[in-house]
């Protein structure tokens, strides 16, 4: 959906659904997903329909994503960090017990 206008100054290695990805330092996790190809950003909790971020500033809660095992985090408010494990959500998350 998006393209980067110029090469980033610094990058970090993260994983998206198990696959390695280089993310620019300063990017939000949401940005990483929006750069990440054709798969829908997430499937909603109520109807299981494809959704993607709408506002990018923490108001719409459509950017929900699992980060380092914790589900339903707002991807637009979390800056990437080296080694981060990012997983797309499909519907309501299962509870980690």
């Amino acid at each position: 959906m998006l393209r980067r206008r110029a090469e980033p100054k610094a990058t970090v290695a993260v994983s998206l659904d198990g696959a390695p990805v280089r993310a620019a330092v300063g990017d939000s996790v949401a940005a990483v997903l929006l750069l990440g190809g054709d798969a829908p950003y997430r499937l909603s909790a109520v109807g299981g329909v494809p959704r993607a971020p709408f506002c990018m500033i923490g108001n719409c809660f459509d950017c929900l994503v699992e980060i380092d095992g914790v589900p339903n985090r707002q991807g637009c408010l979390v800056p990437v960090a080296a080694g981060m494990s990012i997983r797309r959500q499909r519907g309501k998350p299962e509870i980690a017990r």
Binding site: R3, K9, P50, A52, M56, C60
Partner: protein, 473 residues
């Protein structure tokens, strides 16, 4: 007594912090973002440091924020980034940082959390590929990202021109800029024109329009309705203009119908709000120094009423002066004397508002979905048709409506649907929006886990007869 918590590091928060520090107070700036600037000056330090050539693209207003941010850094104010403020109450602010929640004891709180874009519930607005114009701005500022494929922009307001100009200059294929400003509003706005004929903001807007035309971007005015279509993601934007319907292929649609104050914290704090018919939104009731009717809680900047960045700076300064007076650091005379310049500047910056508010008042067609299937509550997936059914039951207001159909019960806590639900109820029941009211908002207004909340258990419990016990059903 000198601790003042400032929620937000945009122009209002930064200006308030600087003024508060100068007066001898102890400001603590709690910022959700990793670096100061709020939304309007988002990532300005990083941009200036890593891609200074983009300061021009992002506009002169943006670059002007750099000075403010640098002054703020130089003043060495207690600045706490990546802090999520989930509650404001007299004497305390609930903050979540690094997985730990605490109730920070303070003498005053200034809520300066800015504006949010008005939700634009057109058919298909929940499709991937549809975003707000502000989202595109944020991606450009914070990550240097732009939409890749054919992009359409729809709506009204000065930001439409700015983002269109920015994206066009960045080489984004803009297929159309669909302007939804009703023709009649040009005429009405002219009444306010003499007052602003020499306002720089106005000429700036016209300048963007000229440049867009030169860049060959299709600017279509008088657009009456917009819809996003596609299977699983946006493929087409359909619009109606002068009675005719047309469709354009697009990967990205940016919607914008102006901004409204972000009221989650002021509502959750119990502040009184009033309906502003001219700006078509609710705003907190305040005095000239941003004081609300809740002791020790002030608001300033766009979260108190839309005025823009320059007005927000003035309001921030005034709020700091008000706080200093209430806490006994200056007397009322000293406060009023120091306030003169800021108040004059504020009045000047707000001078263009009647013109802008009249001209860019959103059309009902963009705010009140006519199609039953259009989603009103994105989180709980509640349609306009469902709201209509609940309205027909005679519910007294949005809170009963919420109880009956779940609109407003999702994680966004009504940010994206509250105004739509209230206006739909008002229209269906023939009542003024001001009378219909709004959702009751309660803390936490930001996500906090049950485990993090449990960390507050040792805070002082109010009242002697509190006990936590299993109620017998």
């Amino acid at each position: 007594m000198s601790r003042i918590a400032i929620v937000g590091a945009g122009p209002a928060g930064l200006a308030a912090a600087l003024t508060a520090a100068e007066l001898g107070l102890e400001p603590i700036v709690l910022d959700e973002q990793p670096a100061p600037g709020g939304q309007i000056y988002r990532s300005v330090e990083a941009v200036a440091g890593e891609r200074p050539e983009d300061l021009d693209l992002l506009g002169a207003d943006y670059a002007a924020g750099l000075g403010l941010v640098r002054d703020f850094r130089a003043a060495a104010v207690d600045y706490r980034p990546l802090s999520s403020v989930f509650e404001v109450r007299p004497g305390a602010v609930g903050v979540l940082r690094d997985g730990r929640a605490e109730m920070l004891a303070v003498d005053e709180t200034l809520i300066a959390c800015g504006a949010m874009e008005r939700p634009v519930p057109v058919p298909g607005w929940t499709l991937p590929g549809v975003m707000s114009a502000g989202a595109a701005q944020t991606l450009l500022k914070a990550s240097n990202l732009v939409p890749e494929g054919p992009t359409a922009i729809a709506g009204s307001g000065p930001l439409i021109f700015l983002i269109a100009w920015q994206l066009a200059r960045a080489g984004v294929p803009l297929v159309a800029v669909l302007r939804t400003t009703p023709k009649s509003q040009y005429r009405k706005a002219l009444a306010h024109l003499p007052a602003v004929a020499f306002d720089r903001e106005l000429w700036k807007g016209l300048g963007w329009m000229r440049q867009l035309k030169r860049l060959g971007v299709a600017l279509l005015d008088g657009v009456e309705a917009v819809a996003a279509e596609g299977e699983g993601r946006l493929r087409r934007v359909t619009y109606r203009r002068r009675g005719e319907t047309a469709s354009i292929a697009a990967d990205c649609l940016l919607l914008h119908e102006g901004v409204v104050p972000n009221l989650q914290l002021s509502r959750a704090a119990g502040c009184a709000h009033r309906w502003d018919e001219a700006q078509r939104c609710w705003r907190p009731v305040t005095d000239d120094y941003g004081a609300t009717d809740v002791e020790g809680v002030r608001v300033a900047g766009d979260c108190a009423g839309i005025g823009g960045a320059k007005a927000a700076r003035c309001a921030g300064m005034l709020a700091a002066l008000g706080a200093a007076e209430r806490l006994g650091w200056i007397d009322a005379g000293g406060r009023d004397r120091r306030a003169v310049l800021a108040r004059d500047a504020l009045a000047r910056h707000l001078g263009i508002r009647p013109f802008l508010d009249t001209l860019f008042r959103p059309a009902d067609a963009m705010l009140l979905p006519a199609d039953e299937a259009t989603l009103v509550c994105r989180c709980e997936e509640v349609t306009a048709g469902e709201i209509a059914r609940v309205a027909a039951l005679g519910v007294p207001g949005p809170n009963q409506a919420k109880a009956f159909c779940r609109a407003g019960m999702g994680p966004c806590q009504g940010r994206m649907c509250g105004s739509t639900v209230a206006e739909l109820l008002a229209r269906a029941q023939g009542r003024p929006v001001a009378e219909v009211g709004h959702y009751r908002i309660r803390p936490p207004v930001k996500p906090i886990t049950v485990a993090e909340l449990a960390g507050l258990a040792d805070e002082t419990v109010r009242g002697e007869s509190e006990r936590v016990a299993p109620a017998d059903g």
